[in-house]
């Protein structure tokens, strides 16, 4: 009897321990599930929201800084100096954060593009990540600035990097995004051209419809597709050649952007013509 009671007590303890273990396991699994869900949710849309939010904070801080700066220049008191130092630090911190979140938005946009290969995407990532790293490190060291002069120096350092290097990466990425969109649409159209060509060959063999004019049109459309590709390549090479000391970076970017827009116009034109060809095939 005593042995049986001992056995029952042991069993009870084991069941109780099992319950505690089970509870811990459930908690761990739940934590893992939550982290997995939050990790999955981060996409371009979320990255862009972060950027917009930080940009609005920057704009607010910019107003505060400008107000405090004018007070400092007017009164030049010890308190106003202390205030301007605090507000300048806040502005520099948020400015770095805006650049970081903007670069992340570009990265996420590129990641979600269907028209770029993984190798092409990696090329963009490595350049974006280099800039991101600089601004992250720059932001981390800002709080160690001891004086207004230190903050001015830190700001100039960030500006120099942004002007000479980050802008190039930004413009290159923006053109990459535009040409990636073109590339995807072009690939889809090329697939349909291939299918249509084989169908037209079939019709020619049947001999019940004259398709010679349609065949010539398709050759023209293929040439337009090639021109579209050339325009995108030209846009990328143009923007890639922007030098670090180039003054008219925006002008060169706009030139490259125009090339991608011309490329897009070709794509639109080709698709419309293809729909016209389908109409021709459907009528006698």
């Amino acid at each position: 009897m005593v042995g049986l009671k001992l056995l029952i007590n042991k069993m009870k303890k084991k069941i109780s321990n099992f319950g505690v273990l089970l509870s811990i396991l459930i908690l761990v699994l739940f934590g893992y599930f939550l982290s997995a869900v939050s990790a999955q949710e981060f996409d371009y849309s979320k990255a862009y929201q972060d950027f917009s939010y930080n940009l609005s904070l920057h704009d607010q801080q910019k107003s505060v800084y400008q107000k405090v700066r004018s007070e400092y220049l007017q009164f030049n008191t010890l308190i106003s100096k202390e205030t301007i130092q605090q507000e300048t630090l806040k502005l520099l911190l948020i400015r770095d954060e805006v650049v970081k979140t903007y670069l992340t938005s570009l990265r996420m946009k590129i990641r979600e593009l269907k028209g770029l290969s993984d190798i092409e995407k990696e090329g963009f990532y490595s350049r974006i990540d280099g800039e991101y790293k600089f601004f992250e490190e720059h932001k981390n060291k800002l709080s160690s600035a001891g004086s207004l002069d230190d903050l001015v120096e830190d700001s100039e350092e960030a500006l120099e990097r942004y002007d000479k290097s980050s802008k190039n990466v930004i413009y290159y990425s923006l053109i990459g995004i535009a040409s990636g969109k073109n590339s995807y649409l072009r690939a889809e159209i090329e697939k349909q051209i291939a299918v249509l060509k084989s169908k037209i060959s079939e019709i020619r063999v049947n001999g019940d419809k004259d398709v010679s004019a349609i065949e010539r049109s398709i050759t023209d459309l293929e040439n337009k597709i090639s021109r579209s590709k050339e325009k995108d390549n030209l846009a990328l090479s143009t923007v890639n050649q922007i030098k670090t000391i180039e003054r008219n970076k925006e002008g060169i970017y706009n030139e490259a952007l125009q090339e991608t827009q011309d490329s897009f116009s070709y794509i639109k034109e080709v698709n419309n013509y293809l729909l016209e060809i389908i109409k021709q095939l459907k009528t006698n």
Binding site: Y48, K268, N271, T283
Partner: protein
């Protein structure tokens, strides 16, 4: 139902037998008709004894369980309740966070259903499945082209304050 007085009198006629230009209001029917849908009030909707029976069965089962097992069930139940509470709080907080920073939603475009295409003098390829499939794919591409923005101004570089100096 009880409209005998009304049926004897002509419409628009007074007691004296003259025609009245004013329309008479219909008489109010004081007797309510029987409502076949009415539920008898003396019959309870749910029998309380059934509920009590189920409660006692569940209580007996619960008491028959080993105290250790009851403890495990209670702990697990408590944890699940806690997790459910965390999930609700988490989802509510993310929704609120999302609302604060959300961008204005674009107005929904009302898509008109396209009119059916009428082909005059159709060829034998008008109903060819291969041709129709290509046409369908090209129309999908056309829609994608329609929503593609090459110069996405949303992604333009931010306008930041870089000029930090303390000289007048």
């Amino acid at each position: 139902m009880n409209n005998n007085n009304l049926s004897n009198q002509q419409p628009n006629q007074t007691v004296n037998g003259e025609q009245s230009p004013v329309k008479e209001t219909p008489p109010v029917n004081t007797q309510q008709p029987d409502n076949p849908m009415r539920v008898p009030s003396n019959k309870p909707i749910i029998d309380k004894t059934i509920i009590n029976k189920y409660v006692s069965v569940v209580t007996n089962l619960w008491m028959k369980l080993n105290p250790a097992i009851r403890k495990v069930i209670m702990i697990t139940g408590f944890i699940f309740g806690l997790l459910l509470f965390i999930v609700i709080i988490f989802s509510v907080s993310t929704k609120i966070g999302g609302k604060v920073r959300s961008n204005p939603k674009p107005t929904a475009n009302i898509e008109m259903s396209p009119l059916p295409e009428i082909i005059i003098n159709p060829s034998r390829y008008a109903t060819d499945s291969g041709i129709l499939a290509i046409e369908e794919s090209l129309k999908i591409i056309e829609k994608e082209i329609g929503v593609t923005i090459i110069n996405d101004l949303k992604l333009s570089p931010p306008n930041l304050l870089w000029d930090i100096n303390f000289e007048e």
